[in-house]
Structures are given as C-alpha cells and as structure tokens.
C-alpha cells in the first residue's frame, strides 16, 4: 500500500509539542513585536531553528570538515590557527606621491598587504589631461596615467615582498603591464611576485558600470591576462570575481552570491574554450564579497559560496584538483551601510560586518573607515579601521577555532537556503545561454535594480531600521574632519604627463601602439604588445584609445 500520510520526524514532533505547550501560551500573553521578521535582504527569518530545519543535510556530504570537500567549513584544516587573514586596506587618493606615503604608513602600522584604489579617469582609461577627466583627477583614488606615475606609486615598496591588489577593471591589462614593468625595474622576478588584479569586467556591466569596450572583446582581454599570467607570472591572481559592487548596487545576499559565482563560472568557461587547462588557471581565480549588516545571512553566504563553487567546478568541469575546487575570497565591509548621520556609529557597523567576514572564513579583509560616507578616509579614520581588524584577530578569541558557527541550526539552514537560491538563479542564467547573454538581456541588472527599490521602500516604511537615519535621529553638525582633495592634483599630474611625453621616444610609442592594434585585430594575446607600449611610456589613455579603435565602445541599452 502506498503511504498517503506524510511522516513526521521525531524532531518535527518535538517542535510541534514545544509550539503547543510552551510557545502558544507565551505568545497569547506577550505577542511578538512584528508579524514578519526579515533579514536585510528582506527574506523572512523563522522564530527558531531546530534539528528539524537541517534534517535534509548530511554532515559528511554537505557540512564536512575544514579543508575537505565541499569546503563549507573553510579551505584550511586549521582555519586561522595557522595564519590569520591578510589585513588589506584599500587606499588611494590624490597623487601617486601621496598614496605612496599612505601605503608606507599602513605598512608601518602592521598592515600586511596593499590594495590600490584608482581614480575615475584611470578606471575609465582616460589620462589626467583628458577633458573628460576634469574635476575627477585624484578624487576617488590615485591618478595613474603612465608608467611614470606607477614608478612613483611603488617607490620604495619591494613588489617581491609585499602583495598588491589593484582595483582596476576595464583597463586592467594595462595596469597589470605597468605593475609588471615596475617590478622588473625593481629587479623582482615575475615568477615569484604575487598580487591580485580585480579585472572582473562582467560585474562592471552588471553593477559598477565602469566599462570601456563591448562585453565580448572585454572578456577576451580578461582571458589574455589569464593566459599571460599562467605562463609568466604563475603566482599572480589575474581576476578577483566581485560580488562587492553587485551588493552595493542593491542586490540581496542571494543575488550577490548567485551573480558572482555565475560570473566566476563564465570566466572558467571562456578560459577553457580558449584552450587553457582549468587546473592551471582556476586555482588563481579569487573572489571578493561584501560584508553587509545582517550578520548570520553574511556568514551563511560565505559558507554557501565555498560549497557551491566546489560542487559546480566538479559538476561542470569535472575538476578533481583540490586547488581548483577551493574558493578563496577577500571581504570588504559594506560601504553602502555607512551613514553620514552620526558617523562614529559606523565604527560599530564595520566591526560587526568584519566579524561576519572572519566567521565566514575570509582570506583577506578590508574594513571601511567611519568617514567614508562623507569622503575618502583621513589617516586617523583609516587607522581605526585597521585597529578594528587587529582587535577582532587578537582580542576576541574568534580565531581560536575553525568555523565556530558550523552546526548552528540557523546558520546551516540559512547556508542551504542561500545555496538553493543561487542554484535557482544559475538555472535561469544557464537557460539564457550563460552570463554574457544574461547581461546582454539586462537580466541581472533588472533584478538588482528591483531589489534596490524594494529595500529603499522598506527603509521609508521603517521596516528596515537605519540608526541615526530613520530612527534615533539627532540634530547635529557634522564635526569630524574629512579629507579634501585639492583641485591642484590635476595640474600636478598633467605636468608629469607633459614631462613623460616630452622625454619618451615618439617613434617607439607609435610602433608599440600599432603592434597592439595588430594583436587585437588578429585576436592574438594582447599582453606582450601592451607591455611593450607601457615600457615605451605610452599613456593609459593612448593604449585604451588604440584598443577602442579596434573594439569600439560599450553603449548601455536602457533596461
């Protein structure tokens, strides 16, 4: 006889008993304050999680041990007991001289990796003297227009000892070339240097929107860097697949997870199609996630990310190499969560977000400074941000044990829920033909815009509380000092550009740019020609403009 009655597990029976005997009388006397409790992603959160919520999970298969498939509990068997995460504060403003001084200051204060923020003209591939750069030089990051600037930026910083992460995307291959030439001039061996290039162009079309070329040639440039690094700079990470900006643009946790990992799979797919061996290049793909306010949702997100990546790499590419299966990631606290109002409160937000990153097993971390909703950080604010990490690492004891939240009914259940949500998105994106096609259709862009709007509505209704903004407001005058970037930065940068142009050999610049165009037209790897152009002191603007001539520019359709 087929069974018609649904079986109730002993755990479920116990929950029902508790609800009836203990919960119901309490709720009758003291009702809960809200009908629906929800996360910052507007997902409903249950009152209580019990073994009944994780009965569909198998310890060995789904949760397992750190350092073992599917890496839910981390990629290192010893967690942070062997090595703490890298404290890598993102910095860059004004001239290369000023940023170089900030880098040296941060290294003296115990920071162990560098991370460069470039200004908008650099991110868009324009020189400081372009009319489009007016008002923007050195404002949101450091201005770099040629190898001359890069030499100043890393002056006195040994690139074979310090790892540097560069946040640069559309013109990433050019900045990588500048970095490699500076390293070479310092006498560093390319075989030995390490570092990370963000170089994640897909999320530019999805969220951050600092693009230059159309999507497909831009993807080709990314694959060129994979291939080049694979051969010549084997310890370098040529891409950091970024959910950070996707989240900042308004995505929910599950959208951040889904779109980022699906972007990662797309890069692997393109690399494989270009003839690269996944077990050689995938271990050098790293990820970059946001750490938002909802503590448990974030911890679960990082755990789910590792599990999904390991399973998908195995399923889609048949990988067995554990370095290919292990997802490594950087975390940055959520800039979007910082408030202009009562700015010192941001120190607390950042500490809690950073703790989520650590409990999620991040490999490196940037903590935002409390003044970043107002301007780029002052020295003092940047120092408190670094100290926040040091307090978490060395005072709280959270790094003493591996994956301390593993086994929590809530966290394991949420990890599974986020995984399932991401896989639903994968199915939709796969059915469109892949991530490039989904982006061309505007799919992730629309999903994120919609979430951003729903969140804003929830804030305006008061359902999502922002302390100091829609609750506990105060009349206050902003009294914290902020960093002001002088308009004279542009003059300073233009002067160095003029000197560089006067000093270099115009003939070799012209030849190098012509060679680069040839390489681009013939679909050859563009990296060798880019390096040659950089060595000849061709400017960033000139190199990007040569590639624009071949590839054209991206125009965003209206979604």
């Amino acid at each position: 006889m087929p069974e018609t009655k649904e079986t109730v597990s002993p755990a479920e029976a116990e929950v029902e008993r508790w609800e009836r005997e203990t919960l119901a009388p309490t709720i009758k006397k003291n009702p809960e304050t809200k009908k629906r409790f929800e996360s910052v992603s507007l997902e409903e959160v249950n009152r209580l999680y019990t073994p009944a919520n994780i009965s569909d999970q198998d310890f060995a298969k789904d949760i397992s041990f750190p350092g073992e498939f599917p890496y839910t509990r981390g990629i290192h068997p010893t967690g942070y007991r062997g090595k703490l995460w890298t404290m890598r504060q993102f910095a860059g403003f004004s001239t290369p001289e000023e940023t170089n001084a900030r880098f040296k200051y941060l290294l003296e204060q115990g920071q162990n990796g560098l991370s460069v923020a470039y200004d908008l003209p650099t991110l868009m591939g324009y020189d400081a003297d372009s009319p489009l750069s007016e008002g923007e030089v050195g404002k949101c990051g450091v201005a770099v227009s040629s190898l001359s600037d890069m030499e100043v930026l890393f002056d006195g910083i040994p690139l074979d000892q310090v790892t540097v992460s560069q946040t640069i995307n559309a013109p990433a291959s050019v900045l990588l070339a500048m970095y490699l030439v500076v390293a070479e001039k310092q006498g560093a061996d390319w075989q030995k240097i390490s570092g990370t290039l963000q170089n994640d162009i897909l999320k530019e079309y999805i969220a951050q929107k600092e693009w230059i070329y159309p999507i497909r040639p831009a993807m080709k440039l990314v694959i060129d860097t994979f291939e080049f690094c694979n051969q010549h700079v084997p310890r370098y990470n040529p891409v950091s697949v970024s959910g950070y900006h996707i989240r900042e643009a308004g995505a929910t946790a599950v959208q951040e997870l889904a779109f980022t990992l699906r972007d990662g799979l797309e890069y692997v797919d393109w690399g494989v199609r270009a003839g690269l061996d996944p077990d050689r290049f995938v271990p050098r793909i790293s990820f970059f996630f946001n750490a938002h306010n909802d503590f448990f949702e974030e911890v679960a997100k990082y755990r789910a990310a590792r599990r999904i990546w390991a399973r998908e790499m195995r399923k889609r590419f048949g990988s067995t190499n554990e370095r290919t299966l292990k997802l490594r990631f950087h975390t940055q606290t959520a800039g979007v969560s910082l408030t202009v109002q009562q700015p010192l409160n941001n120190i607390v937000r950042v500490a809690i977000q950073a703790l989520a990153g650590v409990l999620g097993g991040t490999q490196s971390l940037h903590t935002d400074a409390y003044d970043e909703a107002l301007a780029l950080p002052t020295d003092r604010a940047a120092l408190i941000a670094l100290r926040t990490q040091q307090i978490i690492a060395e005072e709280t004891g959270v790094a003493n044990t591996v994956d301390p939240l593993g086994g929590s009914y809530f966290v394991e259940s949420l990890t599974k829920k986020l995984e399932d949500g991401a896989l639903d998105y994968f199915r939709k994106i796969d059915s469109m033909g892949g991530m490039v096609e989904a982006i061309e259709k505007g799919f992730p862009q629309r999903e994120i815009q919609d979430s951003a709007y729903q969140y804003q509505k929830a804030v305006e209704r008061g359902d999502q509380v922002i302390v100091g903004v829609n609750k506990y407001e105060m009349d206050e005058e902003s009294q914290i000092p902020t960093l002001v970037i002088d308009e004279s930065v542009r003059d300073h940068q233009v002067k160095r550009l003029d000197q560089t142009r006067a000093r270099r050999d115009a003939g070799s610049v012209g030849n190098a740019l012509e060679k680069l165009k040839q390489a681009a037209r013939n679909a050859e790897n563009t990296m060798p020609a880019t390096i040659e152009a950089v060595r000849a002191y061709a400017t960033l603007g000139e190199i990007c403009s040569a590639l624009r001539d071949v590839y054209g520019v991206y125009e965003e359709p209206s979604f």
Partner: protein
C-alpha cells in the same frame, strides 16, 4: 486649460561625470515615476552640455543630478549656467549624492535649488518637486 492638473511634472534624472554608481539615480527615477511624474533618465556619463540639451528637448521642469565622485563643484554650476543660457530660467536643478556640508551653501548660491544628502527619503524629494516646480502658463 488648467496646467496644474493636466500637466504632469517632468523631470530629467541625469548622471554626469565618469562615476558609474547609478543605484541612487535609478531608485529616484522609479520613485518619481511611482509618484505620477514623467521621468527621463539620461544614462551614464553625460556632459553638462548633453544634459542641458536633453532638458531643453524634453521640456522638463527639473533636472535631478546624481554625483558621488566629488566632481559636483565642477559639474553643477555649469549645468545651471547652460540651462539659464538657453532660457530655462524656471527649470530647477536638484543635486543628490555625497556632498560635503561646506559645498552646500556655495552650490545653492550658484543656482542649485536643493541638495539632497545620503539618507534622504524619496518622499521628501517628491514633496520638494511638488512644492517648488513653477506652474506653467
């Protein structure tokens, strides 16, 4: 014809400069649309000249400019100047984004009607437009 009841408020939401952070611009555009206004979004990286030309062509009552990069002191006064130069004397210029308090009074003196800082409710922006857009003859 009663212009106040028949004509919807028309707003150009504009994103000048190199910055690509358009979350705010898109949320505002949708909120104004939901409030019954006609909204035209320029897309990214518009020069002040392109914005002024679009404002004239679309015959808008207000231009809402979103800037997070710190380039507002260069871009906003130029947009105001171009609008006035083409005879759009009543067209309001609103600015939203990361703007230091020191810059607010200076921008207002240069003709920016209002500056909305982070944390502003979209309802406040709707209210401001309803109260300040001049009725058409």
């Amino acid at each position: 014809m009663d212009s106040m009841t028949d004509r919807k408020i028309r707003v150009l939401v504009a994103k000048p400069g190199l910055d690509g952070h358009d979350r705010g611009a898109k949320v505002i555009a949708r909120a104004l649309r939901d409030a019954g206004m006609e909204v035209i979004y320029t897309g990214l990286r518009q020069t002040p000249e392109m914005i002024a030309a679009a404002a004239l062509q679309e015959d808008v009552d207000a231009v809402g400019v979103s800037i997070l990069s710190g380039a507002h002191n260069t871009l906003c006064p130029r947009i105001v100047e171009l609008l006035r130069g083409q005879g759009m004397d009543d067209c309001l210029v609103l600015l939203g984004g990361i703007v230091p308090k020191e810059d607010v009074s200076k921008l207002k003196a240069e003709g920016v009607a209002e500056i909305f800082l982070p944390g502003t409710s979209t309802e406040d922006i709707v209210k401001f437009l309803r109260e300040n857009v001049k009725p058409r003859e």
